[in-house]
Protein backbone atom coordinates (compact mmCIF):
# COMPACT_ATOMS: atom_id res chain seq x y z
CA UNK A 1 0.00 0.00 0.00
CA UNK A 2 2.77 2.40 1.05
CA UNK A 3 4.75 1.50 -2.06
CA UNK A 4 1.76 2.28 -4.27
CA UNK A 5 1.02 5.63 -2.67
CA UNK A 6 4.70 6.51 -3.18
CA UNK A 7 4.33 5.57 -6.83
CA UNK A 8 1.17 7.67 -7.20
CA UNK A 9 2.89 10.60 -5.53
CA UNK A 10 5.87 10.27 -7.90
CA UNK A 11 3.59 10.27 -10.95
CA UNK A 12 1.57 13.24 -9.67
CA UNK A 13 4.79 15.13 -8.91
CA UNK A 14 6.13 14.40 -12.40
CA UNK A 15 2.82 15.53 -13.94
CA UNK A 16 2.96 18.79 -11.97
CA UNK A 17 6.53 19.40 -13.17
CA UNK A 18 5.55 18.86 -16.81
CA UNK A 19 2.45 21.05 -16.49
CA UNK A 20 4.67 23.79 -15.06
CA UNK A 21 7.33 23.30 -17.74
CA UNK A 22 4.98 23.24 -20.73
CA UNK A 23 2.74 26.10 -19.56
CA UNK A 24 5.81 28.22 -18.72
CA UNK A 25 7.71 27.59 -21.97
CA UNK A 26 4.52 27.64 -24.07
CA UNK A 27 3.48 31.06 -22.75
CA UNK A 28 6.99 32.46 -23.14
CA UNK A 29 7.25 31.21 -26.72
CA UNK A 30 3.87 32.73 -27.59
CA UNK A 31 4.81 36.07 -26.02
CA UNK A 32 8.05 36.18 -28.04
CA UNK A 33 6.78 34.36 -31.12
CA UNK A 34 8.65 36.60 -33.58
CA UNK A 35 11.96 36.11 -31.80
CA UNK A 36 11.26 32.37 -31.60
CA UNK A 37 10.52 32.25 -35.34
CA UNK A 38 13.71 34.20 -36.13
CA UNK A 39 15.87 31.73 -34.18
CA UNK A 40 14.10 28.72 -35.71
CA UNK A 41 14.68 30.14 -39.18
CA UNK A 42 18.45 29.90 -38.54
CA UNK A 43 18.22 26.26 -37.53
CA UNK A 44 19.52 23.91 -40.22
CA UNK A 45 16.91 21.31 -39.26
CA UNK A 46 13.74 23.37 -38.78
CA UNK A 47 14.21 26.48 -40.93
CA UNK A 48 12.00 25.07 -43.69
CA UNK A 49 8.91 25.34 -41.45
CA UNK A 50 9.98 27.98 -38.91
CA UNK A 51 6.84 30.11 -39.29
CA UNK A 52 4.53 27.16 -38.63
CA UNK A 53 6.57 25.58 -35.84
CA UNK A 54 6.81 28.93 -34.01
CA UNK A 55 3.04 28.83 -33.53
CA UNK A 56 2.31 25.09 -33.45
CA UNK A 57 4.91 24.08 -30.86
CA UNK A 58 3.71 26.35 -28.00
CA UNK A 59 0.10 25.39 -28.79
CA UNK A 60 1.05 21.69 -28.56
CA UNK A 61 2.81 22.36 -25.24
CA UNK A 62 -0.29 24.03 -23.82
CA UNK A 63 -2.49 21.22 -25.18
CA UNK A 64 -0.28 18.59 -23.50
CA UNK A 65 -0.53 20.58 -20.24
CA UNK A 66 -4.32 20.42 -20.51
CA UNK A 67 -4.19 16.63 -21.09
CA UNK A 68 -1.95 16.29 -18.02
CA UNK A 69 -4.32 18.38 -15.93
CA UNK A 70 -7.44 16.31 -16.66
CA UNK A 71 -7.56 13.01 -14.71
CA UNK A 72 -8.91 10.92 -17.61
CA UNK A 73 -6.27 12.07 -20.09
CA UNK A 74 -3.20 12.04 -17.85
CA UNK A 75 -1.81 8.86 -19.41
CA UNK A 76 -2.03 10.38 -22.92
CA UNK A 77 -0.50 13.55 -21.55
CA UNK A 78 2.44 11.62 -20.13
CA UNK A 79 2.90 9.73 -23.38
CA UNK A 80 2.88 12.97 -25.38
CA UNK A 81 5.25 14.58 -22.83
CA UNK A 82 7.65 11.70 -23.37
CA UNK A 83 7.42 12.13 -27.15
CA UNK A 84 7.96 15.89 -26.88
CA UNK A 85 10.94 15.46 -24.54
CA UNK A 86 12.41 12.84 -26.89
CA UNK A 87 12.09 15.27 -29.79
CA UNK A 88 13.58 18.18 -27.79
CA UNK A 89 16.48 16.07 -26.51
CA UNK A 90 17.28 14.74 -29.99
CA UNK A 91 17.13 18.27 -31.39
CA UNK A 92 19.49 19.60 -28.70
CA UNK A 93 21.86 16.70 -29.34
CA UNK A 94 21.88 17.58 -33.03
CA UNK A 95 22.42 21.32 -32.36
CA UNK A 96 25.22 20.54 -29.90
CA UNK A 97 26.99 18.42 -32.50
CA UNK A 98 26.50 20.54 -35.61
CA UNK A 99 25.61 24.17 -34.77
CA UNK A 100 26.63 24.96 -31.17
CA UNK A 101 27.03 28.67 -31.99
CA UNK A 102 23.33 29.23 -32.55
CA UNK A 103 21.23 30.30 -29.56
CA UNK A 104 18.58 28.04 -28.07
CA UNK A 105 15.02 28.64 -29.23
CA UNK A 106 13.66 27.76 -25.80
CA UNK A 107 11.11 29.64 -23.76
CA UNK A 108 11.79 31.82 -20.71
CA UNK A 109 14.86 31.40 -18.52
CA UNK A 110 15.75 28.10 -20.24
CA UNK A 111 17.22 30.31 -22.97
CA UNK A 112 20.01 31.24 -20.54
CA UNK A 113 21.33 27.65 -20.44
CA UNK A 114 24.06 26.60 -22.85
CA UNK A 115 23.52 23.57 -25.07
CA UNK A 116 25.34 21.11 -22.76
CA UNK A 117 23.40 22.23 -19.68
CA UNK A 118 20.23 22.02 -21.71
CA UNK A 119 21.01 18.51 -22.88
CA UNK A 120 21.56 17.45 -19.28
CA UNK A 121 18.29 19.01 -18.11
CA UNK A 122 16.35 17.51 -20.99
CA UNK A 123 17.82 14.04 -20.44
CA UNK A 124 16.75 14.18 -16.80
CA UNK A 125 13.26 15.32 -17.80
CA UNK A 126 13.07 12.62 -20.44
CA UNK A 127 13.89 9.97 -17.83
CA UNK A 128 11.29 11.50 -15.52
CA UNK A 129 8.60 11.41 -18.20
CA UNK A 130 9.38 7.83 -19.23
CA UNK A 131 9.37 6.58 -15.65
CA UNK A 132 6.17 8.50 -14.80
CA UNK A 133 4.42 7.16 -17.88
CA UNK A 134 5.42 3.56 -17.09
CA UNK A 135 4.40 3.95 -13.45
CA UNK A 136 1.08 5.56 -14.37
CA UNK A 137 0.20 2.42 -16.30
CA UNK A 138 0.84 0.40 -13.15
CA UNK A 139 -1.28 2.83 -11.13
CA UNK A 140 -4.26 2.11 -13.36
CA UNK A 141 -4.02 -1.59 -12.53
CA UNK A 142 -3.76 -0.81 -8.84
CA UNK A 143 -6.86 1.40 -8.85
CA UNK A 144 -8.88 -1.24 -10.71
CA UNK A 145 -8.03 -3.93 -8.15
CA UNK A 146 -8.82 -1.59 -5.32
CA UNK A 147 -12.20 -0.69 -6.74
CA UNK A 148 -13.13 -4.34 -7.09
CA UNK A 149 -12.33 -4.93 -3.46
CA UNK A 150 -14.70 -2.20 -2.29
CA UNK A 151 -17.81 -4.40 -2.26
CA UNK A 152 -20.44 -3.24 0.21
CA UNK A 153 -20.83 -5.69 3.03
Amino acid sequence: MKKNSGRILYVEFAIAIFIFLFVYTGINKLFAVEEFRAVLSKSPLLSFAASYIAWILPVIELFVSLLLLLPHTKAYGLLLSTLLMTFFTAYIGYMLLFTPKLPCSCGGILKELNWSQHLLLNSALLLLSISAWLLSKKDKRFIAINRNSRIPV
Binding site: E12, F13, I15, A16, I17, I19, F20, L21, F22, V23, Y24, I27, N28, F31, A32, E34, E35, R37, A38, V39, K42, S65, L68, L69, P71, K101, L102, P103, G108, I109
Partner: protein
Amino acid sequence: MKKYLLGIIAVIAAITFSSFTQEEKKPADDIYYFYMVDENGVIPAGASVQFGGQVTLSYANANDGCTGSTNHCLRGFITQPSLPTAQSGDVQTLKN
Protein backbone atom coordinates in the same frame (compact mmCIF):
# COMPACT_ATOMS: atom_id res chain seq x y z
CA MET B 1 -11.16 19.08 -6.74
CA LYS B 2 -8.31 17.54 -4.78
CA LYS B 3 -7.09 15.59 -7.81
CA TYR B 4 -6.68 18.85 -9.74
CA LEU B 5 -4.84 20.59 -6.91
CA LEU B 6 -1.21 19.87 -7.86
CA GLY B 7 -1.91 20.58 -11.53
CA ILE B 8 -3.65 23.87 -10.80
CA ILE B 9 -0.80 24.93 -8.51
CA ALA B 10 1.64 24.11 -11.35
CA VAL B 11 -0.38 26.17 -13.86
CA ILE B 12 -0.57 29.16 -11.49
CA ALA B 13 3.16 28.91 -10.73
CA ALA B 14 4.00 28.74 -14.46
CA ILE B 15 1.86 31.79 -15.27
CA THR B 16 3.37 33.70 -12.33
CA PHE B 17 6.93 32.85 -13.39
CA SER B 18 6.15 33.77 -17.00
CA SER B 19 4.93 37.20 -16.00
CA PHE B 20 8.18 37.79 -14.10
CA THR B 21 10.45 36.61 -16.91
CA GLN B 22 8.98 38.70 -19.73
CA GLU B 23 11.95 40.60 -21.12
CA GLU B 24 11.80 43.89 -22.93
CA LYS B 25 11.18 43.47 -26.65
CA LYS B 26 14.39 42.71 -28.51
CA PRO B 27 14.81 42.97 -32.25
CA ALA B 28 13.46 39.84 -33.91
CA ASP B 29 16.86 38.96 -35.29
CA ASP B 30 19.39 38.72 -32.46
CA ILE B 31 22.07 36.88 -34.41
CA TYR B 32 24.79 38.87 -36.12
CA TYR B 33 27.68 38.60 -38.54
CA PHE B 34 30.78 39.73 -36.63
CA TYR B 35 33.87 41.28 -38.22
CA MET B 36 37.21 42.25 -36.69
CA VAL B 37 37.92 45.98 -36.73
CA ASP B 38 41.45 47.20 -37.59
CA GLU B 39 43.52 49.88 -35.81
CA ASN B 40 41.83 52.64 -37.83
CA GLY B 41 38.33 51.57 -36.85
CA VAL B 42 37.64 50.08 -40.26
CA ILE B 43 36.62 46.59 -41.26
CA PRO B 44 38.98 45.97 -44.17
CA ALA B 45 38.00 44.59 -47.55
CA GLY B 46 38.13 40.82 -47.62
CA ALA B 47 37.72 40.47 -43.84
CA SER B 48 36.11 37.16 -43.04
CA VAL B 49 33.08 36.64 -40.84
CA GLN B 50 34.19 35.65 -37.34
CA PHE B 51 33.06 32.34 -35.81
CA GLY B 52 32.17 30.96 -39.24
CA GLY B 53 28.66 32.46 -39.36
CA GLN B 54 25.95 34.25 -37.42
CA VAL B 55 26.18 34.12 -33.62
CA THR B 56 24.63 36.01 -30.71
CA LEU B 57 26.24 39.05 -29.09
CA SER B 58 26.76 37.16 -25.84
CA TYR B 59 28.57 34.37 -27.69
CA ALA B 60 30.77 36.91 -29.49
CA ASN B 61 31.53 38.70 -26.22
CA ALA B 62 32.57 35.44 -24.60
CA ASN B 63 34.71 34.32 -27.53
CA ASP B 64 36.09 37.47 -29.16
CA GLY B 65 39.60 36.84 -27.87
CA CYS B 66 40.17 40.56 -27.24
CA THR B 67 40.96 40.33 -23.53
CA GLY B 68 43.60 42.82 -22.47
CA SER B 69 44.66 43.51 -26.03
CA THR B 70 43.48 46.51 -28.01
CA ASN B 71 40.82 49.19 -28.14
CA HIS B 72 39.22 47.70 -31.20
CA CYS B 73 37.35 44.46 -31.43
CA LEU B 74 34.29 43.03 -33.19
CA ARG B 75 31.29 44.69 -34.79
CA GLY B 76 28.08 42.78 -35.47
CA PHE B 77 25.74 43.27 -38.42
CA ILE B 78 22.26 41.83 -38.93
CA THR B 79 22.89 41.74 -42.68
CA GLN B 80 26.34 41.39 -44.19
CA PRO B 81 27.81 44.85 -45.06
CA SER B 82 29.84 45.61 -48.15
CA LEU B 83 33.51 45.87 -47.21
CA PRO B 84 35.55 47.89 -46.43
CA THR B 85 33.36 49.78 -44.01
CA ALA B 86 33.74 52.12 -41.03
CA GLN B 87 30.13 51.57 -39.92
CA SER B 88 29.75 50.78 -36.23
CA GLY B 89 27.32 47.98 -37.01
CA ASP B 90 24.21 46.93 -35.11
CA VAL B 91 26.13 45.73 -32.03
CA GLN B 92 29.75 45.70 -30.83
CA THR B 93 31.56 43.36 -28.50
CA LEU B 94 32.78 44.89 -25.25
CA LYS B 95 36.21 46.46 -25.33
CA ASN B 96 38.48 44.92 -22.76
